[in-house]
């Protein structure tokens, strides 16, 4: 997508009833999260603890990764390392070819989205079926997920009914959720039963045990892994937790913060291949170690992909996940995206209200990170020339009393005297839906000069 977030958002908002529905739907999720969190008196301490564990992991990641790999190999798994998306995709293709597999199912994994795995495999003649219901829906529609936990949240029931009618032969016009879910279930059952390889994402990888943990609500990761002889678990290298006991901290936070559930319906621990089967773990870097080496932005790697920052973000709710253009939308996506090459507008797609940082279960200071990215993008000339020049000029104007006073006088004069047509030219984006403030008779400064009785000014 080449258009900016602001342009995409304007488009999203053009259908206001739909935008309201999107906002309201996600706000309900946020409210559920508030209730679930409030049920845990030690919630804020838990966040503190989760944040500290993640800090420790990132500070010693090399050690933990090696410990994890050794334990996983000892358990009978095969471990691969991928430096980037291309290498990851190739590794996946090689495994699939080695097992001569045709029927492949995949549970939800943002990492495979990030690497464009489906697209790559398709180009090699390999079909993968996404088994998460939301993922399957958008796969049918050839769309990208608009949310990392609720990938089809941008779609209404009726649209899903239409898609299922077209792809699964459900009754035309029937969008009853139970009816549609049953149809999806039947369709996916066949895919599970025929599966030769099951691919999953990874929520947590435990260094001391070498096991990977996958959290789902539909049990689709289990369905796949239990029916296919070969299982492949794909993880970003930051997914490590040191100890099995650390898991409890995160499983208590994850589902509550994501959807308001006490825990996900399924928390699956995978440790060993099945008899006669094979278990692969692919550990992916794809820019993560570069981020790890940058202390200023390292904290974005603490993210556990709960989606809480999206649900609470007033901008996300009113612009939709696709408006960001990056695979991970919303506040966290805007600090994870590789800005300096692409997406230079994303750090500006925020009012910096800070709600994201307050809900984040691992205490990433998301809005502060956005603020810092803005500085870096400006310094690296990734913003428009006009904007940079305007900022320079404003900087000069605001740093001196006389220049500042003139600026104020001109602004007040303009608002009071310029014809409306000129004041509200399209370049004045303030005027899109707002009136400019009315010009008072005089500034506070001018008032103070004549009205303040005490002459105790410092200057």
């Amino acid at each position: 997508m080449n258009s900016t977030h602001a342009e995409n958002a304007a488009q999203f908002l053009a259908d206001e009833p739909r935008a309201n529905w999107h906002d309201e739907t996600l706000w309900i999720v946020r409210q559920k999260r508030d209730k679930a969190a409030a049920n845990i008196p030690e919630w804020e301490r838990l966040r503190q603890q989760a944040s500290a564990i993640k800090d420790e992991v990132l500070a010693n990641l090399d050690v933990y990764l090696e410990q994890f790999e050794a334990a996983a190999i000892k358990n009978g798994a095969t471990v691969f390392w991928a430096a980037d998306a291309a290498e990851f995709n190739q590794i996946m293709l090689n495994i699939i070819r080695r097992h001569k597999a045709k029927n492949i199912v995949k549970s939800k994994s943002m990492l495979t989205e990030e690497c464009g795995l489906n697209r790559f495999l398709q180009s090699q003649g390999v079909e993968v079926v996404d088994t998460d219901l939301g993922e399957r829906i958008i796969q049918f529609r050839h769309e990208a997920p608009s949310h990392i936990v609720l990938p089809a949240i941008h779609l209404k029931r009726q649209e899903i009914g239409e898609t299922f009618h077209e792809k699964l032969g459900t009754e035309a016009g029937n969008s009853d959720p139970t009816y549609l879910t049953r149809a999806a279930r039947k369709h996916l059952r066949e895919k599970f039963l025929a599966a030769e390889i099951a691919i999953t994402g990874v929520n947590f990888a435990v260094a001391e045990t070498g096991s990977v943990v996958v959290c789902t609500n539909e049990g689709n990761a289990d369905m796949g892994v239990q029916s296919a002889p070969v299982q492949i678990h794909c993880m970003g290298l930051e997914k490590i937790l040191p100890r099995q006991t650390d898991l409890g901290v995160f499983t208590r936070l994850l589902a509550r913060n994501a959807t308001g559930q006490a825990v996900t319906s399924y928390t699956s621990h995978y440790m060993q291949p099945k008899p006669e089967g094979a278990m692969y773990i692919v550990i992916v870097d794809n820019g993560r170690s570069a981020r790890l080496a940058n202390p200023k932005y390292i904290q974005s790697l603490k993210c556990i992909r709960c989606g809480g920052c999206m649900n609470t973000c007033p901008v996300y709710r009113r612009s939709g996940g696709h408006s960001y253009g990056y695979v991970i939308p919303g506040p966290i996506g805007s600090i994870l995206a590789p800005h300096t090459h692409h997406y230079p507008d994303l750090p500006f797609a925020s009012s910096l209200c800070g709600s994201c940082s307050n809900v984040c279960p691992v205490k990433i200071e998301i809005h502060e990170q956005l603020y810092h990215w803005r500085q870096d993008l400006m310094q690296h000339r990734q913003t428009s020339w006009l904007k940079r020049m305007a900022m320079k000029a404003t900087g000069i104007a605001l740093s001196g009393n006389r220049r500042y006073n003139t600026l104020g006088a001109v602004a007040r004069w303009a608002v009071a005297h310029l014809p409306r047509k000129l004041l509200y030219l399209p370049v004045n984006t303030w005027g899109v839906g707002r009136e400019l403030p009315q010009a008072p008779q005089q500034s506070f400064k001018a008032w103070y000069k004549t009205n303040n009785p005490s002459k105790k000014q410092t200057s």
Binding site: P41, R318, F348, G354, D376, Y404, G433, R434, E435
Partner: protein, 249 residues
């Protein structure tokens, strides 16, 4: 009540467009027996630049600010956002004694009244239905109130000052502290989302029949007022200093 020597910091847009807010702040502090000085060469805290990514370009403005405001017991401003900026984002300056003192001693008006002067009852009469807009930087940055995301004891310094006012009815909102969408230059670079957020916020206050929306930040109110006037709505905005100054002290 203790008396302090206060440097009055009137943010640029208040100086230029809302002088009555500056006047109310000054008068209120004087009524409370404070020695208030308005350094008349002050300009701006530099936030509009820094929030746009031009922190470097703002350094000269930061330095000018420190030069104007050094040496006061406290620096008080009717803006949570600007107070937060000075306290939090002047960290890129060399931390001289002046810079440190200016950062530590800068207070938003409500928190200065509740935390430093420990004002209990301002003896205000304001017989209206009022909705509180807890602007984000004051709320989550300065912690002027408990934020709805955090699981903690509920409090609000703004509410505490207003709830004793005679005749006032403070309304409850469906979304107690959602952002109004002003966001500084966000309002200009993302006008559609910004205006939509503002409209939704105003609608929440209207649903609960507020006559006034009040806040410790005039910038949010300026944004919402712009929408209210464009849409010809009846609801009004008023800076909290203008309510607090209607006292009978």
């Amino acid at each position: 009540m203790k008396q302090y020597r206060i440097g009055l910091f009137i943010p640029c847009y208040i100086d230029m467009f809302y002088p009555q807010v500056g006047i109310a702040t000054l008068e209120l502090l004087q009524k409370l027996g404070q020695e208030v000085v308005y350094p008349d060469k002050q300009t701006c805290c530099g936030q509009p630049l820094a929030n746009s990514g031009a922190e470097k370009e703002a350094i000269a403005t930061y330095k000018h600010f420190v030069a104007q405001f050094r040496g006061f017991d406290y620096i008080v401003t009717p803006s949570g956002s600007c107070a937060y900026h000075v306290r939090h984002h002047f960290d890129i300056l060399e931390q001289t004694d002046d810079v440190r003192q200016v950062r530590e001693n800068t207070f938003e008006l409500c928190e200065f009244l509740t935390d430093i002067l420990q004002v209990e009852d301002l003896k205000i009469k304001f017989p209206h239905r009022v909705g509180l807009h807890q602007s984000c930087h004051g709320l989550r940055g300065l912690k002027l109130a408990s934020a709805s995301e955090l699981i903690e004891q509920r409090y609000s310094k703004l509410r505490r000052l207003l709830e004793k006012a005679e005749g006032i009815e403070l309304i409850e909102l469906d979304r107690p502290d959602e952002c109004c969408g002003f966001g500084g230059t966000f309002s200009i670079f993302e006008p559609d989302v910004s205006v939509k957020m503002g409209r939704d916020r105003i609608a929440d206050h209207e649903r609960h029949h507020a006559e006034y929306i009040t806040s410790y930040d005039m910038s949010c109110l300026m944004h919402m007022e712009g929408i209210i006037r464009r849409q010809g709505k009846a609801i009004k905005v008023i800076h909290v200093a203008e309510i607090l100054n209607r006292n009978s002290l």
